[in-house]
Amino acid sequence: MTPIIKVTNLDKYFDDLHVLKDLSFEIAPREVVCIIGRSGSGKSTLLRCLNFLEPPDFGTVSIDGVEIRCGGQGRAWRKQVHDLRLKTGMVFQSFNLFAHMTALENVIEGPITVKKMGRQEAIELGMINLEKVGLMDKANQFPSRLSGGQQQRVAIARAMTMQPKVMLFDEPTSALDPELVGEVLAVMQRLVEEGMTMVTVTHEMGFARRFADRIMYMDEGQFVEVASPDEIFSDPKDDRTRQFLSHLHVHQHEHAHS
């Protein structure tokens, strides 16, 4: 099966700091990949390179047929980046909802402004997604009136309404109070079940263990270990992986329900 995401020889520098070192990998459609690692390992940077929020310095990124060689310039190149971004939806750690717009307005902003969709059509689409994340009744609320978990769910609906091929999650629950984490993970679970390709940077090991097809452990800009959750959690090959995992409370968010 052709990979939906293909990254070849990706390098990224912040001034002199080499934060991503010659990374290459592929992600298949419907695959759920979790990237884990310490802060400073480059995992967030890698994610943000996928939609060129951070432009990579060297290498190529290809998502669903849109291939971009890094280091380009000019109108045509910018159009390519634009097309790439239309293939991806991103959810941020700090939600980043547009503060001056209601939840529904947030959700329909992308389709109307970027895709030139008609307003009625956008509203219908947006309401469907808001209903999927369980917040149809909050459609006319401003972000300031929503809890963190609700804001993040709206953010997910916003990204989904652009009908992306791939969803990128940048530590989606790290800024949430513990009791709000669950509702967001539930939405993400639903996305997995619907077959969305997902790349997630996360500390939620419970989620990773249950839903990830692959886990990539990063350290100092490189993949240290890439394996299935079972392999990585029960039998990490590398010492660094083992050390990292032992610091995490793997069982923190697991609740047994029948």
């Binding site: 939806g89 547009f98 006319n140 953010a155 652009m162 669950g182 989620f207």
Partner: protein
């Protein structure tokens, strides 16, 4: 199997404990409101005292206290009665000038701020030059420039136009920094989310950043408007615009009653300022409440 967490029930405190706590809360609230009331009464009393002092100061009475002669200010109330209306009619021009000029200045400020933040070297240079030049020369000079210097180049404009242009361009330079600060204080996350959705720089600025930035700048811009109400008085120097100060100057000088005339003008400016400040407070309150329904 779901991963959602079960909410944990809070344990209610015992009845005795809760009574003690609510009693303490009541006592604290009482103490606070007593303190606030005392202060507010004190302020009101001070205002009354100040008012009576001023009334005495301008009453015109002469009294001797133990050998010391006290002469209070004797205002010509006849003059005030006669000319207050004439001076008052300048208020509309003052307000009109201010509104037109502040509008121009906000438009210029947005352009200037975008220029100062721009990656285009030309836009940056132009806006920096504008801000530096205007902030580096006196407002009065700029007013004279539009009114007296431009006619030498064949550009003649009415006193009103010269005033609006001079004030608008002048305040535009100062407001540039205000708008720029507003734009920069819109969190970078907003931009990133918009980028991730595929919005262009223009769209982001127009739909996401500027609306939020302008909301942030309403308090400082409101202050600028109130300052401008006073600066319109400088346009009196062109002789053409019969606003508050011009009117009070002319009748004051001609009748040797500058004290009364300028006091009248001062009171009018003061009242206008108070009114617009109250309006601004209302607007700010309305914005921070910000609840809208979908159109």
């Amino acid at each position: 199997m779901s991963i959602t967490a079960d909410p944990v029930e809070p344990v209610p405190p015992s009845t005795l404990e809760s009574e003690r706590l609510s009693g303490q809360a009541r006592e604290l609230a009482k103490r606070r409101s007593r303190r606030e009331r005392r202060f507010s009464i004190g302020v009101k009393v001070s205002y009354v005292v100040l008012f009576f002092f001023l009334a005495f100061l301008f009453s015109g009475v002469q009294i001797s206290i133990g050998g010391i002669e006290i002469n209070t200010i004797n205002l010509d109330w006849e003059f005030i009665r006669t000319y207050a209306g004439f001076i008052f009619r300048g208020v509309w021009l003052t307000i009109l000038l201010s509104i037109l000029a502040i509008t121009l200045s906000v438009v210029l400020a947005i352009l200037g701020a975008l220029g100062r933040l721009s990656r285009s070297p030309f836009a940056y240079a132009l806006s920096t030059f504008y801000v530096s030049l205007i902030r580096g020369t006196p407002l009065l000079l700029q007013i004279f420039f539009f009114f007296l210097a431009l006619p030498q180049l064949g550009i003649v404009m009415s006193g009103l136009t010269a005033g609006v242009l001079a004030l608008g361009i002048n305040y535009g330079a100062y407001n540039t920094e205000i708008v720029r600060a507003g734009i920069q204080s819109v969190g970078v996350g907003q931009r990133e989310a918009a980028l991730a959705l595929g919005m262009t720089g223009n769209q982001i600025m127009r739909r996401i950043v500027l609306p939020q930035a302008l909301k942030l700048t309403i308090p400082p811009l409101g202050n600028q408007f109130i300052a401008m109400l006073k600066d319109t008085s400088l346009v009196a120097t062109t002789g053409f615009v019969w606003e508050i100060l011009w009117r009070s100057q002319k009748v004051g000088r001609a009748n040797f009653r500058s004290l009364e005339a300028l006091l009248i003008a001062a009171v009018f400016y003061w009242i206008i300022t108070i009114i617009f400040s109250a309006v601004q407070d209302r607007i700010e309150a309305r914005i921070s409440r910000g609840e809208r329904t979908l159109a």
